[in-house]
Symmetry: C2
Subunit: 507 residues, 2 copies
């Protein structure tokens, strides 16, 4: 183990500038060590103090561009200067995703394990597009995908790979669906083909925008994503799904895929996967499961029932960069149909292909819209060993407990209303003080929408916590999304305290 073995040889930081401004190559090892240790100190100082910064910086749009020179630097600058500017100009103007009060959207945690993993990964700068360009990048990805698959209890009929984001994972899955439906769209394209009915994708009203975005990119068209109605708990209604497909078939459309969401973005609702899988199977449609946020909860044996039936999906997306303490980016796509993804995205002619499972060579670029790739498996390998499944489960459970506590506080307070079930780590609520006598339901919603927008702004202005919002059944809802690794119980309690205090101040 290297334990600062070269410490005493470390060069003064000034040597870095001399080399970079004179040389034709890169830093020598001693100067590199100096530079990296200096950067580490900046990182440690930032993370040690992040909780004291405002989560959401109080700045006006457009006010930052002018802090930087309008023209690029001609001469090399000293590392001290760059790092000092980083601390002065970059850190305070970031939205602090690493703040324990970051409870907006879904948090992304740069855990120490993730930072170490990314650092190692960057120094290798592998491009595992081909087996040959990174044997370890290719094969470790297979290992780590297998580990994650087992961790969430899926059978070994699922294979997969890592992408940047859920948007890309879902786009790839729907690209596979396009081919599975026999459209031969990657080769022939979708236009100018007389007899071709427009392909249709079904997803609930609460499904993530990435599904529409994928349809736009794939030439399927946003209009051909059919938004299926939800029930009172914001779950897709299987009867509405069946009816939509029947009606589309009648009208000459070509159904290709159903997207079920386990843990929607707005309220973390859980679509009834069993009945949806039945309908998809009946019509031979590709079933894609968006579990980008909540999929990691399947690591908890006591919660696996929520996912029962997802093993019938053709493809599943789970994002380690959401609730698995992995710095952005890392999205896992699991599928039982690797060969269809290759039909959609491979440029290698058939006679050059190696068989998927029998040959040890896998060239992952054949399954993706991109050619170049990052070695994301490395940071996940570090992270899974660093925490162990046990340590990951403990933290995920803890976030769920924190959210359940928060939900119970909301429920116990007559001035607040919960607007959706909270099955995971996210609570949707609104402040709902009494209104004038005989107020109509609609007038009440309008009053509370406005009040809660003001409340959200007031809460976020404190800088101690950052919450985001959504609309549920048309009503403005404040979302409290836990899962940032640095969020302790006291931060959760503080968020509730601030919400109540700011609400009272509005009245």
């Amino acid at each position: 183990m290297p334990e600062h073995e070269g410490e005493d040889e470390e060069e003064p930081i000034g040597a870095v500038l001399f080399e970079q401004s004179q040389g034709l190559t890169d830093l020598d090892p001693d100067a590199l060590r100096t530079a990296l240790h200096a950067a580490v100190e900046v990182v440690v100082a930032h993370l040690a103090g992040v909780a004291d910064r405002p989560v959401l910086p109080a700045i006006e749009p457009g006010s930052l561009v002018g802090l930087f020179p309008a023209t690029p630097p001609e001469a090399a600058e000293a590392l001290e200067t760059i790092l000092a500017d980083y601390r002065a100009l970059i850190e305070p103007n970031a939205t602090q995703w690493q703040h324990p009060g970051f409870m907006a959207y879904f948090p992304t945690s740069s855990s120490a394990a993730g930072i170490v993993g990314e650092l190692l990964m960057t120094s290798l700068s592998q491009n595992p597009m081909l087996w040959r360009t990174s044997p370890i990048g290719t094969e470790l990805e297979q290992v780590v995908v297998g580990w994650l698959r087992q961790a969430v209890g899926l059978p070994d009929s699922y294979d997969g790979f890592l992408n940047d984001t859920a948007s890309t994972s879902s786009l790839i899955a729907l690209g596979g669906a396009r081919e599975q439906a026999g459209l031969d769209a990657s080769e022939l394209g979708l236009a100018g083909r007389a007899a071709l009915g427009a392909p249709r994708i079904y997803a609930s009203e609460e499904a993530h925008s990435s599904i529409e975005k994928a349809a736009m990119t794939l030439g399927i068209g946003r209009r051909n994503v059919v938004r299926v109605a939800t029930d009172g708990a914001l779950r897709m209604r299987p009867d509405a799904l069946a009816a939509a497909i029947d009606s589309d078939l009648e009208a000459g459309f070509r159904p290709v895929a159903v997207v079920a969401t386990l843990g929607t973005t707005s309220s973390t609702a859980i679509d009834p996967i069993g009945p949806i899988a039945d309908i998809a199977a009946r019509h031979g449609l590709w079933l894609h499961v968006d579990a980008a946020y909540a999929g990691v909860v399947a690591m908890l044996p006591e919660r696996r029932a929520d996912f029962a039936g997802w093993e019938r999906a053709d493809s599943i997306v789970i994002n380690p960069h959401k609730w698995l303490f992995t710095p952005i980016d890392a999205s896992l796509l699991l599928t039982r149909r690797m060969e269809r993804l290759r039909d959609a995205f491979s440029l290698v002619p058939e006679y050059l292909r190696t068989l998927d499972r029998s040959s040890p060579v896998r060239d992952v670029n054949e399954y993706t819209p991109q050619l170049g790739r990052r070695f994301r498996a490395l940071k996940l390998w570090v992270l899974l060993r660093w925490f162990g499944l046990e340590g990951l489960r403990r933290r995920i459970r803890h976030h769920i407990e924190q959210a359940q506590a928060f939900a119970s506080w909301v429920d116990a307070d007559p001035s607040f209303e919960r607007l959706a079930p909270a099955p995971f780590s996210t609570v949707c609520l609104r402040y709902a003080p009494p209104g004038p006598p005989r107020e109509s339901g609609r007038a009440r919603d309008e009053r509370l929408d406005s009040l809660n927008q003001d409340l959200l702004e007031a809460v976020n202005r404190t800088g101690e916590v950052f919450l985001s919002h959504t609309r549920l059944d048309g009503r403005f809802a404040i979302r409290v999304a836990l899962g940032q690794i640095r969020t302790e119980d006291r931060h959760v309690a503080r968020a509730w305290e601030i919400l109540r205090r700011e609400a009272a101040a509005l009245s």
Copy 2:
């Protein structure tokens, strides 16, 4: 400036394991410092010794998976163990992209500047999808895009943003072209529209596969990428382009875009951009320029003539992670048509849109297939200041000089043939010893194809250098691609020595 100010408080490395295996949050600052400094030592040791490793590891496909446990780790493991396994299992089984003898494909350099930049970026883990989710991520990206634009001498009519790879940048550009042509494909899709002629994209026979991949993804279809013939120097023939468009119009196709390449992947040929731009303009087609590799050469005033005319393009891609010493990933898309990209990729309805240039708020996800994004501008900001344009130009010039020297050695040796012009840092050649008397041209090519495949394998087996290959006019060509920041003159000379020695050994 922090100068290891906390050094004496550093915790023993064992403390890391205790925290990760007991805690509910992440490491405390002292343990984080211990972990990151330990990782830095591993990185420095690896890069200090990378030149002594084989560039291409001598391993069989499928032999690595078995080095790792088949099941995920249940308990937390010590950082020492993870780092020791990293050194034993990961480092030696990587294709060493950071080796000075890496002369395959196009090199990607993890410069010290790039590693520092990525480290800072990871610790913030910003997601600049919205201005609000990262004000500095959004605005620094505008600053850095402006710096790079000026560095390559393009006018301020070009705006842009950073993507993962050139595949994505070109896909986005062609998505914009699809909308510019009035297809309204993102909204309506391309299928089931009776009167719609198939959209067509024109690119040379030598254009990169990412253009076909984009057409596959976008639902345009691989078949609708028309590969235009090249001249003797592997440049697109404008007369062939004009004829292809005319013939397509006659046949009822719908031309939408022309892709010109400045620095093709195989031989770094330079398409005649002026005449191509004339033809694109005449037909109102989107002109996309793929300068992913060579675009940085426009930073050299003495080479700007090679790019004259590219300022007429609708979009241009340049990859910092190719020849600008930036670790993967970073691809710059410049465009004069931001609004068309938004037509293709924005889910925000018109009435919610802010105007592009007049409003200071930019939400970059409106221009991309992905929602989540990395804060790539940060590493480029560090890198541009670290080297200064002067330091970048010096290194790029140096790589061009190295390649010119290499080309002159090939030209001076009667046993070798150069197979293409070498305008940048890449040389294409073959070993061509005399054959039997009265050998036909075809028989000669077949003999030399086989001989050069053997030669390439022999060279790569030495582990001192890694070269890749291509086919030019049907002939097998060995490519020597310089541009890795660690490649010194002696490594280039050594590559030539090895090529000659292994060639002689084959005879």
